[in-house]
């Protein structure tokens, strides 16, 4: 019985060693640079960086076409995170792209809303619910506070307020 036991252990070690040598351990692939930059951006899709959204801005940074200080919603914290990731010097937010403001969400004054759907069309994250001639409403959880819906509203019924939580 002892012989069988020691033989089993020996064979187990042998098989483990053989498979260990034959099948290399797989390492997690590192995400492309644009993905890692995109993960640090606030995903407001506000376009204040002069790109269509956060992903295009991330790709522009990765390609070296854009600077890291063009994102007002990300603010100083976001710029520092980007500088750390890219190994660059921190630089203050470029005022050309706006100023850092506290996070807000859009709220529609439903008594005033005429149901024109213009805000729905510009919302980059589909956070506004509604239909033509029907009152609109904002899904607060989805709203990124980009403020893009303020300009097209013909009756100025949208306000940016501090989020409830």
């Amino acid at each position: 019985m002892l012989a069988a036991l020691s033989l089993t252990l020996l064979l187990a070690a042998l098989f483990a060693f053989a498979l260990h040598r034959l099948v290399p351990a797989t390492t997690e692939p590192v995400a492309p640079l644009a993905d890692r930059i995109d993960a640090l951006l606030p995903q407001t899709q506000c376009g204040q960086c002069h790109y269509a959204g956060c992903r295009p801005y991330a790709e522009a940074i990765a390609a070296g076409d854009a600077d890291i200080n063009q994102c007002p919603p990300g603010g100083e914290v976001g710029i520092r995170a980007l500088a750390t990731l890219l190994g660059r010097e921190f630089k203050p937010l470029n005022p050309e792209h706006g100023v850092e403001t506290p996070r807000t969400v859009a709220v529609i004054d439903e008594a005033v809303c005429i149901g024109c759907t213009k805000c729905i069309q510009v919302c980059p994250v589909d956070a506004i619910l509604g239909a033509p001639q029907v009152m609109h409403s904002v899904l607060t959880e989805e709203c990124t506070g980009c403020g893009l819906c303020l300009v097209p509203c013909p009756v100025d019924c949208i306000a940016m307020v501090a989020p409830a939580r």
Partner: protein, 218 residues
């Protein structure tokens, strides 16, 4: 079963494995069984980095490489050993009841269970093993368990050693056949001989050599 017949059976099993592993990838072509995994020079560096980890077996690789065959053989040997242990224990438990006349039928479910267990454990350890030809490995375990009936031996250590040696021999046959094919597919050979016919001839040569060795030893 004498040594020569056992060796011949193992070579035949290894050849069948090679043909199956090959045809599973390219169902329409019984093309040369040599290893032809030349890296694509146009591939991007990222793809090269992923291709560096050899993709095992049927799902991705066109032709199983020597490493793939070695992994296949080692896994088969492992399952053979587990099957031997399990069937020996079951045989010992059932022997007083005189329920079993043939251990071959016992090997069938036990080998399947051993292969499933091995697949379950090893794929959690090394994910690429998910692509290993597990049904074929289980079939190998059944075949080797029939060739080397471990349950019939009274001593577990002997049964285990015999099964391991059979599994190791199977692995060596697999590698030897692949190496023979890599070297002995002469371009001057008639076109009809290329591929499988020459592989069969090589397997015959290997068996002949091994038979001579068996006669020399035994």
């Amino acid at each position: 079963m004498d040594g020569g017949a056992l060796i011949a059976s193992l070579v035949a099993l290894a050849l069948a494995n090679r043909v199956l592993l090959e045809t599973a990838t390219k169902p329409m072509a019984l093309s040369p069984l040599g290893n032809s995994a030349a890296p694509d020079p146009t591939a991007s560096p990222h793809a090269a980095a992923t291709a560096q980890t050899p993709s095992l077996f049927v799902s991705t690789n066109a032709t199983p490489t020597l490493r793939d065959l070695a992994v296949h053989g080692v896994l088969s040997a492992l399952v053979v050993c587990l099957t031997a242990i399990a069937s020996w224990i079951v045989q010992q438990a059932l022997a007083p009841l005189a329920l079993l006349h043939s251990t071959a039928f016992l090997a069938l479910p036990l080998a399947a269970a051993a292969a499933a267990l091995t697949a379950f454990v090893t794929t959690r350890w090394r994910a690429p093993l998910r692509d290993a030809a597990w049904p074929l490995i289980a079939a190998n375990a059944v075949a080797i368990a029939v060739l080397v009936p471990a349950a019939a031996t009274p001593d577990l250590a002997t049964a285990l050693l015999r099964s391991f040696l059979a599994g190791a021999g199977f692995t060596l046959d697999l590698l030897a056949l692949a190496a023979l094919d890599a070297r002995l597919q002469p371009r001057e050979a008639p076109a009809a001989f290329h591929g499988l016919p020459l592989s069969l001839l090589n397997a015959g040569l290997l068996t002949l050599a091994a038979q001579g060795l068996a006669g020399f030893v035994g």
